[in-house]
């Protein structure tokens, strides 16, 4: 197995330290360039288990807008982002929706639910269906 040598820009605070993480394997990593302890934690987490909150939209029917914004209610592994997008893009929800409502429970077994990030009532789109637009 090849060694690890990566530069990570820390986003814990606006200082933006460039942190170098290197070592022969994951058990023996050296962290350099961080100005505080939080930077070291962040950099090691980025190497061992990088996670992100996934935020996107789903289709919504019988609502004044065509898309409902959603998010995962916890961070998911970075490599699950695109597979999760495929699942989310197949979903269609029906208005009304309340903020926090679960749209997809435990998406792709990540342990995170996809939830609505706003409330949206039932109603016609302004201008009506004659206006056309995407399905």
């Amino acid at each position: 197995m090849s060694g690890i040598d990566r530069e990570i820009v820390c986003i814990v605070c606006p200082t933006g330290c460039r942190i170098r993480v290197s070592g022969a394997d994951r058990q023996q990593l050296t962290v350099r360039g961080n100005e505080c302890k939080r930077g070291e934690e962040y950099a090691l987490k980025e190497i061992s288990d990088p996670r992100r909150t996934l935020i996107t939209t789903v289709r919504i029917d019988h609502a004044p807008l065509r898309r409902l914004p959603v998010r995962t209610n916890r961070e998911i592994p970075k490599q699950s982002i695109f597979p999760c997008m495929e699942v989310i893009n197949r979903v269609r929800v029906e208005a009304p929706v309340e903020i926090g409502q679960v749209i997809i429970p435990n998406v792709l077994g990540t342990g995170a639910d996809v939830v609505a990030t706003r409330s949206m009532g039932r109603g016609a789109r302004p201008g009506g269906p004659a206006q056309g637009g995407p399905p």
């Binding site: 996107t56 898309r67 903020i99 706003r118």
Partner: protein
């Protein structure tokens, strides 16, 4: 003519926070005017997270942040007009608006709070040569089309500019299946927040080309490519360095301009450094009784500071209205009760400082200055000078034009303020 104590123009985060703060400070009779079909402003299309870290100690999305304030406005039952556009305001605080139900109407206001936000600079504002094909969008327009209307704007994208919305849209477009060929920054540093550069570009391996710009847009009906050139130390394109990139879409994230047409109609004086009204510490503009807050005053990078500033304006407007009621028919303006305002000026290294004026400080414990530096600083300090003497100095590890700085002057410092102007400067610190 109907009369309201306070008319708030704009139902985004600034307008909502100002209206809520004004009500909480005792102003009963408030009208909130919003041109969209719902409250929330641009937050409704900013579906990404990163909002509310300071205000709520939570990592909220734009719509989640907006909904908290919408609920507060509803709880307080603050009257609002949606789908209503303000056409003009006057120096004596009349507000001319239009909507489909009432037509054109005028109301008079004890105080007005300007909270119209900002708008994007477009292709015309930066004069990119070339043909005029379809497929050139500002980042905010692309954001609205994708996140609210459900339209995809293109497949192969070239992005010019590194404002936060642009960075966020580079990620969003990638998630939705587009290929972002590169993000170009004319300057040697990106304009947006570091965390957005990292989480939006690095995460998705989107190339960031510093010191590059678009010198020509190609294509007849639809964009088919762009000519990209390197830029010199003055950010000017270097002749002979042009390279052709094929793409079907150009997205511009080249800055925001405070939206002040209404302010000008009332004779409100603007600051050439911010593009927004000159305000005092209560966010009162140069016209008595007209207050301003949020991105109409200066472009903020965090909504948390927008609502903070808007609460100051809401409280200020409430004080103006309630104070003038107490004095009777002869309106007594807060500045009449205090000394002449002291000017706050951006000195060496600063792009701007807000507020630009400080009047009396009676009862105020501290004053927060919002400011931006004009270049990237390493270890450095911010200094407030009064007649050559430094009355406040704070250290910073790093400062960048992309990140607004906040500097608090406490009561001890405030008490030193006399009639002289205050100058705020940035300086590199060695060692």
């Amino acid at each position: 003519m109907n009369r309201f104590d306070i008319v708030v123009i704009g139902g985004g985060p600034a307008g909502m926070a100002a209206a809520v703060a004004a009500r909480e400070a005792g102003a009963e009779d408030i009208l909130l005017i919003e041109r969209d079909r719902e409250l929330g402003g641009i937050l409704q299309q900013c579906i990404h997270n990163g909002f509310g870290l300071h205000r709520f100690k939570e990592d909220l999305t734009g719509p989640e942040f907006a909904e908290r304030y919408i609920r507060r406005v509803e709880e307080l039952d603050i009257p609002r007009k949606l789908d209503t556009t303000v056409l003009e305001i006057t120096e004596d605080r009349e507000v001319l608006y239009i909507n489909a139900e009432e037509g054109v109407r005028t109301v008079s206001a004890g105080a007005i709070i300007l909270a119209m936000g900002c708008r994007e600079r477009s292709r015309g504002a930066i004069n990119i040569p070339g043909s005029r094909p379809a497929g050139v969008f500002t980042a905010g327009t692309a954001q609205r089309l994708i996140n609210i209307e459900g339209y995809m704007v293109g497949r192969r994208i070239m992005m010019l500019g590194t404002g936060d919305i642009g960075l966020i849209m580079a990620r969003r477009l990638t998630l939705e299946g587009a290929k972002v060929i590169a993000v170009l920054a004319r300057k040697p540093y990106p304009g947006g927040l570091t965390r957005n550069v990292v989480q939006c570009l690095y995460d998705y391996d989107i190339p960031l080309l510093l010191r590059h710009t678009i010198v020509e847009i190609l294509g007849k009906d639809r964009v088919r490519g762009v000519l990209v050139a390197e830029t010199d130390e003055n950010s000017r394109p270097i002749s002979g360095s042009e390279e052709l990139y094929e793409c079907d879409t150009v997205i511009l994230s080249v800055g925001l301009i405070p939206e002040n047409e209404l302010s000008l109609s009332a004779g409100v004086k603007l600051d050439s450094h911010t593009g927004g009204p000159i305000v005092d510490e209560s966010r009162q503009t140069s016209v008595a009784g007209i207050y301003a807050c949020g991105n109409v005053v200066h472009v903020h990078d965090l909504v948390d500071y927008v609502v903070e500033e808007s609460e100051i304006a809401g409280k200020g407007a409430a004080g103006f209205v309630l104070g003038s009621v107490a004095v009777g028919t002869e309106k007594m303006r807060p500045e009449d009760r205090k000394g002449a305002p002291v000017h706050l000026l951006p000195g060496e290294g600063l792009k701007y400082v807000v507020p630009q004026r400080v009047r009396g400080i009676d009862g105020e414990d501290s004053l927060d200055l919002y400011l931006r530096v004009n270049r990237v600083y390493g270890k450095s300090s911010l200094e407030v000078k009064l007649g050559g003497e430094i009355i406040k100095r704070v250290k910073r590890l790093r400062m960048s034009p992309g990140e607004m700085e906040r500097l608090r002057l406490n009561k001890g410092v405030m008490e030193k303020i006399n009639g002289s102007d205050l100058i705020v400067e940035a300086a590199e610190v060695n060692g």
